[in-house]
């Protein structure tokens, strides 16, 4: 349903895509994963006819996006990185406008808009201007707008960037339901957990090139084994703990000095964990927390690129209020009440 061969796109001296090959079979979900600037959005823009590649070919639903862009547009839905809904229109007016522009007649357009508002739990808010919506509601509306014409292929470009954890989990539920209905989906994300939860296949890209590809489990297997993760009581213990851990680890020990956390791949499960604890006890290191876990996509990314996914803190902590890491590019949503404004609003406020 979606296919790219050797896509190249340059902006001046910057190469955004460097010979990208992709294939998404019908009804499957591909997660395109990578840090900011990896080329994810550029790829989506080419597939959705917004951008013409410098080289290579892209097909959507069997149609070449360069020679048949207008037909491609009838088959796709796009929901962008920033919710491209008009904040002065109501939710209903936004959907009705998009439906008319897809070519639906007046009556069908209104009916479809009402149906989508219902489906996305926006029926009550449908007659309020979008500027009164929370970040999560805007994203849902944006997603609804992408689905107006019941497209067979859907592109979601970082659908949950900037959302607070609860809204993100809600949106994941919505997306999972969609996919269960047989929609082919290409999803870009810089959240490793998101790709893990939603995608059948994950393609990891960096600097416009594929660096790994496979099911989440395959990628994790590629990194191999389990991880021992432990947190020590004081910074001065880090060096000792590192030496102890290195004795039993099957790979490099990662140290996060700020969190006083050490992570290392191991073979041998619980037995190794016991061994580590014994060593640390002998060395007199106070251990605050210790555990054995399966490798996450973070580990995959680290292993493949030699650097962490930018701005990405550890996976699996979404429920603890961690919407994004402290690093560059990812907005941190401090609210847990589902009403957090998106970063875009904050930017706009600053402009005003």
């Amino acid at each position: 349903m979606i296919r790219a061969r050797g896509l190249v796109k340059r902006y001046g001296s910057v190469t955004a895509l460097d010979g990208l090959d992709l294939r998404v079979p019908e009804g499957r979900v591909l997660g395109l994963l990578g840090p900011n600037g990896a080329g994810k959005t550029t790829a989506v823009r080419i597939f959705t006819t917004l951008l013409v590649p410098d080289a290579g070919s892209a097909e959507v639903a069997g149609l070449d996006v360069r020679t048949d862009p207008q037909v491609v547009r009838t088959r796709i839905g796009l929901s962008g990185q920033y919710a491209a809904v008009d904040e002065h229109l109501t939710g209903f007016e936004n959907l009705d406008m998009v439906a008319r522009l897809y070519g639906l007649g007046r009556r069908r357009s209104k009916a479809r808009s009402r149906e989508l508002l219902e489906l996305f739990d926006l029926a009550d808010a449908g007659h309020r201007p979008v500027k009164t919506y929370s970040g999560g509601m805007r994203r849902r509306l944006d997603l609804a707008a992408a689905l107006v014409a019941e497209p067979s292929v859907l592109f979601l470009d970082e659908p949950t960037t900037g959302l607070d954890p609860r809204s993100r989990i809600d949106l994941w539920g919505v997306i999972r339901d969609l996919v269960a209905g047989g929609t082919t989906l290409l999803l870009t994300t810089q959240y490793l957990e998101e790709a893990d939860r939603l995608a059948d296949t994950i393609v990891v890209i960096d600097h416009g090139r594929i660096i790994a590809e496979g099911a989440a489990d395959e990628l994790k297997a590629q990194v191999g084994g389990e991880r021992v993760e432990l947190v020590v009581g004081s910074g001065s213990d880090l060096a000792v703990a590192r030496t102890a851990l290195a004795e039993l680890a099957s790979g490099d020990v990662q140290v996060d000095e700020h969190a006083r956390r050490l992570t290392a791949p191991v073979h041998g499960g619980a037995g190794v964990l016991m061994g580590v604890l014994r060593l640390l006890d002998t060395a007199g290191v106070v251990v605050l927390d210790v555990g054995l876990r399966r490798p996450t996509l973070d580990d995959v990314f680290l292993q493949l690129t030699g650097h962490a996914a930018e701005g990405q803190a550890d996976e699996g902590q979404v429920d603890e209020g961690q919407a994004g890491g402290p690093g560059a590019g990812i907005p941190t949503a401090p609210h847990l009440d589902g009403d957090a404004p998106t970063i875009r609003d904050e930017e706009k406020e600053a402009v005003r």
Binding site: T41, R45, T48, T49, L50, L51, Q70, V71, R73, T74, I76, L78, G80, Q81, Y82, A83, A84, D86, H88, L89, E93, M97, V98, R100, L101, Y102, G103, P129, A145, V351
Partner: protein, 268 residues
């Protein structure tokens, strides 16, 4: 669907969306309705009272100039509106839809005609309150207003192109100020062009803003029979025709330019 009909239908959808915004965004409404009132009052009382035209009525002379300047400034909306849509990713959504490739621009410029109609209505009412009178037939006066709208429509395509090019509403606003101010001042808008020094006089006499204003003055009957005759320049002797030619040329050049820019523009 027939492509022309499709452009028309899609353009209407986009125009409707823009018009809803006029209603909901107080800034737009204030600018559309208040600033024309302010201009009329300011010029009528500040300039109109202090400058004495022997045997003439400077206040009446000013009205057509104020009308023209205001509707030309109205084109800034077109550019700023498109730049804002570009910045917010709305244009990306439009471009990913199977809609007509020029409908966003036709819809935008069409809704700005409505904005200009509102402005003209408010200015005319304010003008009548401060003593402006139409001294010809209502039909001729309507013809004058129509000509204003035609020229403003053509000029809004220039700003549409600029808006898509610079992608920032703030830059559009500043840039249009830099361009439109001299464009509307080096003309017969507020002073008779004959009084200007030679180079400026030539520019002013061939400036289409002058011909629009001249045409309106004639159609409103605001030309003082006692004052010097209209300068013997073709553009001012045939102001309606000259204005229409300019409008046609601007549309012929800037519609394709703006549509081409729209097709290749992305927001980020």
């Amino acid at each position: 669907m027939n492509p022309v009909l499709r452009t028309f239908a899609d353009g209407a959808v986009v125009a409707k969306r823009n018009l809803i915004k006029i209603k909901r965004v107080p800034d737009i409404l204030v600018w559309t309705l208040m600033s024309p009132i302010m201009f009329v009052l300011l010029f009528a009382y500040v300039f109109g009272s202090s400058i004495d035209v022997p045997g003439g009525n400077y206040r009446e002379f000013l009205i057509a100039g104020i009308f023209a300047q205001t509707v030309i400034f109205g084109a800034t909306f077109t550019g700023a509106g498109l730049a804002e849509d570009m910045q917010k990713g709305v244009i990306d959504r439009f471009r990913s839809l199977p809609m007509s490739r020029s409908a966003v621009l036709f819809g935008r410029t069409a809704s700005d005609i409505v904005t200009n109609l509102l402005s003209i209505g408010v200015m005319a009412a304010t003008g009548l309150l401060v003593g402006w009178r139409v001294r010809t037939s209502p039909w001729e006066a309507l013809g004058g207003l129509l000509l204003l709208l035609v020229f403003a429509y053509a000029f809004s395509w220039v700003m549409a192109y600029v808006g898509l090019l610079v992608r920032s509403p703030e830059v559009v606003n500043n840039a249009s100020f830099m361009v439109i101010f001299p464009f509307t001042f080096i003309a017969n808008t507020f002073v008779p062009s004959e009084n200007l020094p030679s180079v400026l006089r030539a520019i002013a006499q061939w400036n289409p803003v002058s011909s629009v204003v001249q045409a309106c003055r004639e159609l409103f009957g605001n030309i003082n029979p006692m004052a010097a005759a209209t300068p013997d320049v073709w553009s001012l002797q045939h102001p309606v025709l000259y204005t229409l030619i300019w409008s046609g040329v601007i549309v012929a050049v800037f519609v394709p330019l703006a549509v081409r820019q729209y097709k290749r523009s992305t927001s980020h």
